[in-house]
Subunit: 280 residues, 4 copies
């Protein structure tokens, strides 16, 4: 276990996971805005790399207000798994209707292509002129009705099914978790028997997307200059390791200090470093 503030000096670019690292169920952690501003003042390039397609990058950025100058981090620095879905729809899916499961705010990731219309699956109607199905968030719809609608839509029509957040669960408070949309996607995928397209850490595509962004600021950026900071072994650390960047596990979220050694041993996922939190 070492000091985050000392560790981060060795890197030019930092990828932060959001939940369990910069914020928790009570909001942004006290001290985090000052920490981020200090790193920016030192010339670091910061990105938030998050499995979250429930709201737009701008809405994410607004959670870190920076006073008169606007948000601490520009919305372009929020690499959400929803953006991978937007990219995929842009590149591969014909213009038209896209059925979705999720909150109204999550529909942003469909509409952002400029050529697709996001339609809640319950409003799709029997004509089925939909070009794809996207699972964006676990809230905003009636699970029983809409999971059954999604199941039958995919049995009738061979269209791409995209899951914009690979997480199976997410923490709702210190004690409880909730089923995330990634788990609903796996449920549907098994029943339909077709291959869905899953986006989000630990998938390499998130990291490669973030790297491309970072290289626009810093051409020639080497992976050795990047640090991935996360609280979850299976997503943040496994994904960062495979992508070839250094990783630091913080003990402020999913992985409590007392379980860390046992979980690293059990999973075989070994972070490069361990810190108490980003505030140490």
């Amino acid at each position: 276990v070492q000091s985050f503030s000392e560790l981060v000096r060795n890197y030019q670019v930092v990828f932060f996971d959001a939940y369990g690292v910069l914020k928790n169920s009570a909001g942004v952690l006290a001290g985090v805005p000052a920490m981020l501003e200090a790193l920016i003042a030192e010339g670091k390039d910061l990105y938030v790399v998050t499995n979250d397609a429930s709201k737009s990058p701008q809405a994410m950025a607004d959670q870190f207000p920076g006073g008169a100058n606007g948000d601490i981090l520009d919305s372009a620095r929020f690499i959400s798994s929803g953006l991978m879905a937007t990219d995929f729809l842009s590149a591969k899916v014909p213009a038209g209707k896209v059925a979705y499961l999720g909150k109204l705010s999550s529909a942003f990731y469909v509409e952002a292509t400029g050529k697709h219309q996001a339609v809640p699956i319950a409003d799709c109607g029997p004509s089925d002129d939909v070009e794809a199905l996207v699972l964006l968030d676990d809230e905003g719809f009636d699970w029983q009705r809409d999971i059954n609608l999604a199941l039958n839509l995919l049995r009738r029509k061979n269209i791409p099914a995209i899951v914009a957040n690979a997480d199976p669960t997410y923490p709702v408070d210190g004690k409880n978790v909730a089923v995330a949309v990634g788990a609903l996607g796996r449920l549907l995928e098994e029943m339909v028997g077709k291959r869905f397209i899953h986006f989000g850490k630990p998938d390499a595509y998130m990291f490669s997307f973030a790297l491309s962004k970072a290289r626009k600021q810093r051409p020639g950026l080497n992976k050795r200059e990047i640090l991935m900071v996360g609280d979850t072994l299976q997503t943040d650390i496994a994904g960062g390791n495979k992508f070839g960047v250094d990783t630091v596990l913080v003990l402020s979220g999913n992985t409590a200090a007392k379980h860390a050694a046992m979980r690293i041993e059990a999973s075989g996922i070994i972070p490069t470093f361990i810190c108490e939190s980003v505030l140490t």
Copy 2:
């Protein structure tokens, strides 16, 4: 493909699947009551072996009314996967509250032990004095609220979790299917990471339970004298084959005539016989 009425002559005992064999979404198939009565008149012992814990065996029997003499088949001849749950609770779970997901009518399988009180999971409260969790049916509860409650209950308390119907989906009409409670059980099991107890075909326990019943009528009954009749390769046929009884696939339900050969080849599950339906 051969005639069911000729085939059945070679057996003393017949295990029928219900849905897709004796009934469909429109109710009991015309001709089935007469067929059943004819077999009983010939001295056959008939049982319905069904992955269904949504209602009691008596309610199942009442779907096959036999005129003045009561139901065609006595409720004791309905071997439901719910009865396996009742058996398990009786043998292995201390008296007290059992949380359940399912319709009110499915709670029968908890209360039938005589020592347990079935409580919808939403009514369990934070005190958690529950001895087991049973998933009985996909209807009768709010999926989002109650699946999340079940997930957190199992994370807090190391109690047995029982899934009383292994099916992932069930047909609701000629074109559409619905997510069955078996799939919800798998979803929870993966998220919790603990081993659940699953009952229902193809599991050998259903067949061994039915055989025990049949042997009470016919001591010394040999498995070679039993015919399992079903419309689903993965449950009825795979289970019957493994248990060592002859199996007949009928083409009146899940497995349409045009797909039968391909599905047998693809799955490697080979029925002993194939019939159009039980009415041939």
Copy 3:
């Protein structure tokens, strides 16, 4: 943790797992023969219920020699997972050649049907007049050559594939384990994409087979009078629990004392009792 000798007084019939309970890599545990003889003298009915198809029940019985009177337990009291394969072949597979993977001594379970000829898969030749494939043991064949032969046989011919031992690994000494035939079966099953027939604990069929045997000695035997004794949560305890018999986890094999509580919590598989060993 309690005394096995006191616990066992409450039961009429005992099902013992073999490896990790009665013996280990060094052979039968000192004290076990005397313990077994004492239980028999008290009138208990003892059975060994074992995931092992590497040798015949007689060869298993001979590992527990009883002096002038022959073996302590008659070979009929060894319920091996191989016997389930024999049963299945007898009931469901036409007379003829059966290809197998395993030691020569494991071929017993094919030949025991009296109508099948066990042929090592490497000797099957291109004519493929084989009626089934049986995986019996991890030894006695060239893995690379014969797993590839099995894969292509099953791609060419839609015949039943039987795995006569569900275990993924087995201990070879205090520190090391070995890949068991159950894991090779899963590997083949995933590649072929067909449903294999797996026998062995925790499957209910093993327990139902053992119960039938026990009831021949004691008609009317109730499951409450049976104790399952095992060292492995996933097979012995999960299977016994589901079957509705009392279970005791012994800490002399796969589950070391220091890990027991953590593994019970993590797996959700809760033994009725825990004992240090069968010698306490």
Copy 4:
């Protein structure tokens, strides 16, 4: 189904799968060298993107000899899944010994880091001073001995395990397939219970690596200018689709013309285009 030579005109960069596309078990397809040379003459940038870590890129390039000028494609244009392993070892694994399973020629991908020594697992000895385990190829070792050695090494030591080829099987001739190292990796991973690091299509990392190479030749290259050509839905097409490039399924390898429509329907993996072969 359309003409490949016409289709390819619309792209600047082509990613070819090798086996089933450019070559088969009899070697490079007649006509392929001329086709490649014609595309190069037209100014296309060509890459071979292949799940194969059995030999070095140079050895792959030498299979496409181009006469006096050397190979048709420079070795730098062969993007093998083995290179991902090399990259990972370079970035994340301390200098020292790396245990491997595979042919001698596959050890190239370990030694290429310049700081690791590739040691066949059977030669590692009990001291276990190894920093990682890499599965490179299905040949070149004794499966039973060395899979068991790998299993116990990973149980003893928490080191990264890398699978440098995700394929479960590969074709050996028109009729037979063989178990590939990807399947052996899955087998080990399930038994050990730890997370392995898998490289190869459909993983996004292969495509992002190839894109980086291509952009060195053509800065500003857009994904819309790239065509992925493959014979396998699950790897070439699923991976290319997710990465956002156009994909063409050729019917000259794993996916025969008569099965193509059914497999696309069953898998839900939809190629952008279909061509008989790269020679049409």
